[in-house]
Structure formats: C-alpha cells, structure tokens
C-alpha cells in the first residue's frame, strides 16, 4: 500500500495505523498522529485501517517559541 508519511512516500504492508508505526519503528507516548488531516487518538490507532494514498502525520514535541 502506498502512503505519504510525514511528507515522504512509503510502500508498506501495514493495514492499521498502529502497524504502520511499528513497521516504521515509531514508538512512544509523546507521539501524535493524524491521517488525512484528522487527529487519530492513540487509543484508536490499533483499529484505524489505512487506505492507499493516505497522508499520515506523526508528530512529536519540538522547540518552539
């Protein structure tokens, strides 16, 4: 399945958001996820099914003013 993850194209087998994070070695409770501009809560990642072409954002805390 083709996905855009943080702006980069990925070809991954993962079918849920949780699987995608694992596949790409993302972990930690400081991460926030959005799919196609909608927030996906941590609790919902396991059942959140991805579709071809989905745009996923995986964010974490950074310096900001």
């Amino acid at each position: 399945m083709k996905l855009m993850v943080n702006g980069e194209a990925h070809e991954v087998a993962a079918s849920t958001l949780a699987e995608l994070l694992a596949a790409l070695d993302y972990e930690g409770d400081w991460l926030a996820t959005a799919v196609n501009s909608d927030l996906v809560h941590r609790a919902n990642r396991a059942e959140f099914r991805l579709s071809d072409g989905d745009r996923i954002e995986i964010l974490s805390p950074m310096q900001g003013g």
Partner: protein
C-alpha cells in the same frame, strides 16, 4: 503569585524553547529565568530518530507548566489540527494559538485567528491567542471564548521592543479584567519592564533570550526586569514632568 486561568504561577515570565545553543543551555536558562511556563511545538518525528523523546524528557524534567503552540501554522485548518494533536501529547487544554498571516512580519492573520479561536474554544480549549494590538480584534477574540490575550509589541524576533506604547496602553485600559500577555518583539529587559509598568500581566519571550551571547544570564536579567516592572506598576510611579523640580528641600539653605 500570578493567577493565570486559575493556575497560581510564581513568575510572570513565559519562555519559548526554540533557538538555544544547546538543550543544556535551554534548561539552565529556564531555571535562571524563574519562569513557570514554557511554550513548545509539535514537529514531524523522524523514524527511529528520537529527537522528540529527548527534547520532551528534558522539558518534563524542568517541572514547568507546558503551553503548547501552533507556531508556524498559516491556516485555520493547520492550527486546529495541530492544537488537537498537542492536547493529546501534552495533556493540557492550554494552547498558544498562532495563525500567521504574513511571511515577513510573522504577524497574525486576525481573520483566521478569530475563526480558529472560535473552533477551539467550542472544543474546550483554553486559547491563548497571539494577536495584534487591535482592540476590535481583541473584542472578537473575547466574544468567541478567549479568556486571555497575547498581543505582540513588535514583529516576532525583531527585538524592537514596544513600537506602539499608545496602542498597548489603550489595550490595557479597555480590558482591565483580562489577563494580557505581551508576546513577541521584546529585545531587552528594559522592554519587558516597560510593558509590565503599563500594567500588562506577563510577557512571553524567546529569541531575546535564546539568541543572546549568554542566554542564561539574559534569562535571569529578564526575570528580574519582569518582577521590577510589575512591582513598579503596583507601587504608583511618578508621572513624567516637563519642568524640573528640585529633589532637595530649599528651606534652611546656608548662605555663604
């Protein structure tokens, strides 16, 4: 203590976390400043890079309150989703709302700001809007549910200090009951003292401290200046006078 939306804070200085020479210096600056609230952002995490984790651990260790921001957002949509993601990560309903309207001055887009503030207030956020010194915009922000305002005093990172004292005084005068935090544009401790003397409730800084030759010393200096300005505001300052007045009693002067 400074009561900010029901939270008692020991300091009226809020600090940004960007642009420091190193995380260690950031941490030392936060401690030296005495600040109790820092603001930070969300950014894309690189796979198996652990930038976010390291930074987040550093911040948590400081034991300060977090004010997440939507810095860099140029649209309502971007700002709203970023705010929601921040709420999940940081576990707070506080959000410093930035909707940037101009790439050069980084000033707020007051139209997008009011709209995003309305959406987020309805969703239960405590919105800290980064706004201009426009009284009418301020009224709109209060109408849509904001209970604090963060007017700029000059463009972000300009270090110009208060470029329009008249407008700041007018803002303070029109919203006596609303916490007003000067956000952006301060360059020197004297600038911070000046706006605190006008009766503003707090200031938020970043560049002036982070980019100083000695950020830790500068953080300490700003912390003192904010205290000084607040204390002066409460102690009844002299109005400037045009004519000189002797500061020594003239009675009993010797005649030689």
């Amino acid at each position: 203590m400074f009561d900010l939306l029901g939270t008692k804070l020991p300091s009226r200085l809020l600090l940004g976390t960007a642009q420091y020479p190193s995380p260690a210096i950031l941490a030392d600056a936060v401690k030296a400043s005495g600040t109790a609230v820092v603001t930070l952002s969300l950014r894309r995490e690189m796979a198996d890079g652990r930038a976010g984790e390291k930074f987040w651990s550093l911040i948590r260790a400081l034991g300060v309150r977090i004010l997440p921001n939507t810095a860099g957002c140029h649209s309502v949509k971007e700002a709203v989703i970023t705010a929601k993601m921040a709420r999940e990560v940081f576990g707070t309903t506080w959000i410093k709302l930035e909707v940037i309207g101009n790439h050069d001055t980084l000033q707020p887009d007051v139209f997008g700001l009011v709209e995003a503030a309305r959406i987020l207030c309805e969703d239960g956020f405590s919105v800290f809007p980064y706004t201009t010194d426009d009284l009418v915009v301020a009224e709109r922000l209060l109408e849509v549910g904001c209970t604090v305002l963060m007017p700029w005093c000059a463009p972000i990172g300009s270090a110009l200090g208060p470029v329009n004292i008249m407008a700041l005084r007018s803002m303070r005068g029109h919203f006596p009951g609303v916490p007003l935090i000067v956000d952006a544009g301060l360059g020197r401790p004297s600038h911070a003292a000046t706006v605190m003397e006008l009766g503003f409730d707090a200031v938020l800084l970043n560049t002036a401290v982070a980019r100083a030759a000695d950020p830790v010393g500068m953080a300490r200096a700003f912390g003192k200046a904010v205290d000084a300005g607040r204390e002066a505001f409460g102690s009844g300052m002299l109005e400037p006078r045009d004519v000189a007045v002797p500061s020594t009693p003239t009675i009993g002067r010797a005649v030689f």
